[in-house]
């Protein structure tokens, strides 16, 4: 009996060891087996739907690389898109996990340097509107807030609509924001708050859709939402001007309205011929139409 216990232990250890070794070996293989006719994108969850839609259309239209460009071999088109946030996009582009990182915020100076010899492609911008519910009495009094007023609302300095304007009812202001540290909240901080902390009583919503939905459902809510959502729900979300500048296409393109973030693809390498072909497609009318359809402002050609 004692002997059989030893055998049991030894064989178990052997199996475990084999499992561990095979795990390591797999890891090494997958690092090398990077077929160069597939393109992998990873990063921001804002850009992922755009890339996924474009990749679908692209594969559907051409099927093989040869149909895209007769110089390319007759191989099927394979494009992977996965999400994990802008920070993850930058990191995985640098360490080669993905060919391109999807980033939806301004690059830091360090990051700018890392990608300066490679590729930085802007597909468009995500513009944030400060918006309220269509039933909010504020829309009848004024549709323009100064930056100071916005800061005092979002920092929790004033808590009631009557403090903003005497004619407004004495109802609490419900401030709705995205998660602190996420792309949208950084844009808002850079353009408006400039380091003033958001009120600790602000509701943090897990997605832009939920944030827009909260404002549409609740008459006391104010928040920042993607301009695309406002365009899709013009009756329910009322965008406010900031310091007299309305979030119109003209003001956005001229840079007057600056609560926005770029939609970027980054890579430390210059694109190879496959990647260049797909990026040209993204920047064509077809690609930019997808950007607009999904609620963002496409980059001017």
């Amino acid at each position: 009996m004692k002997k059989s216990k030893w055998v049991l232990f030894l064989v178990s250890a052997l199996i475990l060891g084999l499992l561990l070794i095979s795990g390591c070996a797999n890891g090494q293989n997958s690092g090398q087996a990077n077929a160069n006719n597939t393109i992998k994108f990873g990063g921001s969850s804002t850009l992922a739907p755009i890339l996924a839609k474009c990749a679908d259309d692209f594969t559907e239209e051409f099927k093989t690389w040869q149909n895209v460009d007769s110089n390319l071999p007759d191989e099927p088109i394979v494009i992977f898109v996965s999400t994990g946030g802008s920070g993850f996009g930058v990191k995985s582009a640098l360490d080669g996990t993905f060919d391109f990182g999807m980033v939806t915020r301004d690059l830091s100076a360090d990051e700018e340097v890392s990608f300066s010899d490679g590729t930085i492609v802007q597909l468009g911008s995500d513009v944030l509107d400060v918006a309220v519910n269509y039933e909010n009495p504020l829309t009848k009094v004024k549709t323009d807030l100064s930056i100071e007023e916005i800061i005092s609302i979002f920092s929790g300095e004033i808590n009631s609509w009557s403090e903003l304007d005497e004619t407004l009812p004495e109802r609490p202001i419900v401030v709705a924001v995205r998660d602190l540290g996420g792309g949208a909240s950084i844009v808002f901080d850079d353009a408006i708050m400039k380091g003033t902390p958001i009120s600790t009583g602000a509701l943090q919503l897990p997605s832009m859709g939920a944030l827009g939905g909260k404002i549409m459902d609740n008459a006391d809510t104010i928040g920042y939402v993607s301009s695309g959502l406002v365009n899709q729900n013009p009756d329910k979300l009322i965008p406010l001007s900031v310091d007299g500048i309305a979030p119109t296409i003209e003001n956005i393109n001229s840079g007057k309205y600056n609560i926005s973030r770029p939609l970027l693809l980054v890579s430390p390498q210059t694109p190879d011929k496959y990647q260049a072909a797909f990026i040209n497609y993204l920047k064509s009318d077809k690609g930019l139409k997808v950007v607009e359809d999904l609620g963002y402002v496409a980059v001017g050609q």
Partner: protein
Amino acid sequence: MSLKENLIRIFFFSIAIVSALLLVFILFFILKESGAIWAQVGIINFLTKSTWQPMATPPQFSILPMLVSTLWVAFGALVIAIPFGFACAIFLAEFAPAALARLIRPVLNMLTGIPSVVYGFLGATVLIKYLEVSFDLASGESLFAASLVLALMVLPFIIANSENALRSVAQEYRQASIALGVSKQYTAIRILVPLAIKGMLGAVILAFGRAIGETMAVLMLAGNTLTIPFSWFAKGEPLPALIALELGSATPGTSHYQALFATGFVLILIVIMVNLSINLFLWHWQRGL
């Protein structure tokens, strides 16, 4: 012992070891990812201060508000679910006609299969709006809303496991009760429940573990504010919601990322500690009897 038997033993023994090792590796990995944050912030500061500002300079990481929210939500859910759960289990095990029990049981089991995001979505669209309209609240998100939906989610676990515990009490007790002319109600409450209480508490622990780690539903219902909640009807941000909200945008390797992993470590420790302490308590209790 034949070779075949030995092989089978070895196979299952290995699997058991691998799954036990998995827990160790997960703990180790999370500790490793949280890395320098423990020294940087200090365990005491991390757990007892109330400012969470990952984007400030310097960033501040303290999770007391989330810790309090987590406990509010989880215990709140148990407070709602336990009376209903136990009552329902006793009814199903002792009083329900067999046909009715056969009908209810699969329905309850199906409840466990509903994805939590569906519960969260229902809560966000129906419950939140209901609370806003009927209590004239500025916004309906609250720890109470999260507890209520969590209670619904853990109820099937409590019922199924408690019912099993009650059913596994030996048949002799029931026969003796009948022979002595004791009422069925007295038998169930005073004799069967005390005998099955260990299994019923086990059901509660399972429910607690699920409630405290549940992410999607609380993320959509608790409001995710960074203040310390002093009431059940305040808003708060439980630990899993914090991790789910911010991990996507935290750059790996930054102190923000490490702080989120440290938060995950705290969450796992809470669950393990609750499990261990209840087990110890039951062990002492049994020896005392």
